[in-house]
């Protein structure tokens, strides 16, 4: 931590600040500039994390220097992490493509979707059985019935299942059907859920919160990792900005940022990231070109009949077209689909 003193800070104020740092069991390094004195705080990271200096007289501001996450950081784990989902890899040479309807509605619907997305090259079936919805009056998902349907379809067509968990009490139930737990944007800082998922070993797809910084996101991943589960996959799904044309603003620079700051694999969700099906194709291409490790895309056999998010779902035919283009971009990136 750096403590910046006010230009007119008195000697007594500087001494007071230094004294407080010393009493906290920390060391200082003082740097007197032309106008400003700056105090560098040295010592135990945990003590620094709890040090509060802004209310001390003469202090202008403090600047925190180091990130708190460690297990998620590339600094301490330079090698890329590859998550293995029953033989299917996320983070390796092959892109992981997850596709399927927003909500699970019926076996017929999911079978149709699963068959088509498998044929087009997806290796994961995505779909919601427990849906977090803005209004309590919206469709909330089929629960266990939905999980069964997904598992059936997935087994029939050779896919893995990724589905959202919104309540840690559902962990065993969902775990009995799914291969990957998805944590949605609204729950990115539901720390109890993260800890619970960290105490088991199935992979977790951690979506970025609606207004989460990359640092907060990696700290959220740290909650899972620090409990012992190393199988975390990050998912960029758009952030909230002032723009209203798109549902969210898909932040593809987060892919490059995560690749620099962390070793964890990252997939991109262009469906929620834009909220407009016509934009899924260009954004899927762009995400792969940016260097992501996979895509998660909403595909519904009949989007016009979808119970949720039909506006952002692709038809199987449009998904096929996306996959064709993604495949070409992936080849340029030295990757396969």
């Amino acid at each position: 931590m750096i403590v910046v003193m006010k230009p007119n800070a008195t000697k007594a104020e500087i001494d007071g600040a230094v004294d407080k740092i010393h009493r906290s069991g920390l060391d200082v390094n003082i740097s007197k500039g032309a106008e400003t004195t700056i105090i560098g705080v040295i010592g135990d990271k945990k003590k620094i994390a709890n040090l509060q200096m802004n209310m001390m007289p003469g202090v202008e501001k403090t600047v925190r220097i180091t990130e708190k996450y460690k297990l998620a950081s590339r600094n301490f784990h330079p090698q890329d992490t590859v998550v293995d989902v029953g033989g299917v890899k996320i983070g390796g040479k092959a892109l992981a493509v997850m596709a399927g309807p927003c909500s699970i509605e019926s076996q017929e619907q999911v079978d149709e979707a699963a068959e088509k997305v498998k044929a087009a090259g997806a290796s994961f079936l995505r779909g919601g059985a427990f849906k977090p919805r803005t209004s309590p009056y919206d469709f909330q998902g089929l629960a266990e019935e939905g999980l069964k349907i997904m598992r059936n379809s997935a087994d029939k067509f050779g896919l893995k299942v990724v589905t959202e968990i919104v309540d840690k009490d559902d962990m065993d139930l969902i775990g009995a059907y799914a291969d990957v737990f998805q944590v949605g944007a609204r729950n990115m800082q539901n720390f109890q859920l993260l800890r619970a998922l960290g105490r088991q070993s199935k992979p977790v797809l951690l979506k970025r919160g609606l207004a989460a910084t990359i640092s907060e996101w990696l700290n959220a991943a740290e909650y899972i990792l620090s409990e012992g589960n190393p199988n975390v996959i990050l998912c960029e799904r758009g952030i909230r900005t002032y723009e209203t044309f798109t549902r969210n603003t898909l932040d593809l620079s987060a892919v490059a940022a995560v690749k620099e700051l962390s070793h964890l694999p990252i997939v991109v969700d262009p469906s929620h990231g834009t909220g407009r099906w016509e934009m899924v194709r260009p954004m899927a291409r762009a995400a792969v070109a940016a260097g992501c490790d996979g895509l998660i895309i909403e595909v519904h056999p009949h989007p016009e009949q979808a119970l949720s998010d039909g506006d952002q779902s692709l038809t199987p035919k449009n998904f096929e077209r996306v996959m064709d283009e993604v495949r070409s971009i992936a080849a340029v990136m030295g990757r396969t689909v």
Copy 2:
């Protein structure tokens, strides 16, 4: 819902859109302007909520007209709601002031804080026993030990207890000590927690999410109300913007907006809302002048020793000064403290 057709939409496209609406069991009202045809959708609100039109050929965009929340809406409940917390009212003539340390650290600390805030005019003791923290390595609270300390202090000095719940499994435990459950910004859309709190009757202080719209916030309140608990108090605590000087941007216009849209009482948290103790005083005054029903303020007997958020905590002496000024503003507003 309004469906706006593209300027060059064909008759077949317009007919197709109308047909889909009819097949969904809804009626239309067609309005042909010079350039654009607009289709108003009429009928059952739930059917409209699930209608997806953006993927239909010729459709430019859709505009949703009505809010989904009902029990939280002033349209259907014109009278102000007053929440009664064991005889202390929130939403009536008297402002409810909640004060205390960010984290509960020791009986001595809390007693000192409680005595002082009571003397200055607070009627609620606030403090965290279960702390949601960005990093897993930060201090996470004293749990039940902290709850006991709060209850002790509160009883000693005649205060009510408001404290955060982060896990629905803790509901009975916290409920045994607290008078009001607080739901933090990170959990505003933790719908399982909201539902659980809706199925009991203790009041709930629902903080606005970091990047939640007012509409989403009122829909979150609806989750509690729709389960049967009418005792919801809203709390504005600052939203996330691009500005970095303050920790958050305190949105006082939300007070006026909530007063227009809803009958629920609203309190303001200038401590988290700014993240800077020097700003708590002016923002507390402004919040009362904007028409809020109460304040929640961090007060620590020794902010420089606080285990969390010391930078935004007031000393008891500064809190007293805030209360003096708030009292004068409240008088102008026809309210008491």
Copy 3:
């Protein structure tokens, strides 16, 4: 400036960074922590401003410590600035109230507005003769005709004139009629306009840009001040956020921030800040309670006929009510209206 090295930075990389700083004519202060080495850069502010370190090998990030503005800073000018507009003060004990229609439309309209706002306690007539509008097809203002109308009304009723300048070529023309130049949010970083206004002596009301940080805003003020004109009044008018219920998000904490960082007076515009006339009253009260030095409010004798921004304009009667309430809050603040 602080240069933070990566945890695994080599000695050669640290030496390389230090060497570059030395070659830039600057000194260093090195602080070796457990994990990270931090280099404090000391010396001439201008040289530091132009130092680029992020592309040096081993550098994790750089943190700029000091603000670039000086004349606008309270650190170097502790006393509050009071701007004198022909005898009417902005920044002193009395609040400056500026009121009038968004656009100047006719002599009759402005006379009616001017008479009413003067009677209610305003000392400035505001109104637009040159309007910056999002679309080229919107009403752009009456230009010189509008200026004449304003001057007439203002003289008739004893008011000062504040009006927007959007083009430095209009400076003489507008200066012939107006007492205060207003720079709108869209032009906050139109540096040529700011410089031109700095080279004359009439006061300038500088609105905060739509997405400007407080630091950028004070740097924009510095453009005017550094050319020799000390008469700058800041104006908070709402910032752009994700919230759509209000037109902008009025950031009243900016009032407290400006009071801490700068000596310049600050007024608040609750009309543009919210975009909703029903919110002007609570936000005007809150702004005064937050400590602002004045208000700028849209008042139109017949808002339902206004050529622009009628939705956020008050009737004279509503304005009177605002003024009554503002007066009571001002009294508590030890100020007059």
Copy 4:
């Protein structure tokens, strides 16, 4: 425009609203739903643009339906626009690559940059002679001297010149040296500058404002187009969000949005868009995959000595690598570099 009445609006209130619309010379289409009455306003676009309904009793809100821009809209001009810059096309099959230093510093610097970027495949030399800087104390550019240097280098190596204009008074001067005028983000709504550029015929590269919506951006383009200059190129350069890791958040979905809404070509600036040179490569690839028509990239022969924005500038060698990768992605997109 759609006028949404409150659920409890009286017949008199509905009649009053309709009456006001009729008196404005417009027609209505009334749609009575179960809860809410909605009034569609039909008639002359300009009259609707000036209609103000929110202050009418019983009105809940109004929704504007149609965009105001016309010449910029694909609805009225389905064919892609290709801008011809002395034989070099922007918007056609070939991607336009613009590269060069942020600030023009010396002939030697620019020659070195120009030679290298030409060799790597750029067809435009970019560079700033007039720099809009946040602080008045930062380097403001070499002015005409800088323009001469650029022209020299460009002619020597067969490049076109694109450079920023910040003051309409400089139009003839800059026009004497440059092939394309660049309007920076801070001036996107400097309407006087836009109009002036619309009254001449040289192409204009219009950067998106820091917090501009896509709609505002296209309306800004409309200012140029409506004065008679059809040669507008849009440039996405990152928007302001809460994220601090990157300087801005590059919004690549804007590329897809612009392609849908408008016929104008769009280029992407990954240098300002991220503010970090390591991110330029992945974001350049992603931009091309998203479907942009060109790139504008900062290249400095010695970024560590740059007078501005060195942190985001590429070395010529790194630029070459970017171009190699961009070329492969472009090929997949059916385009050339």
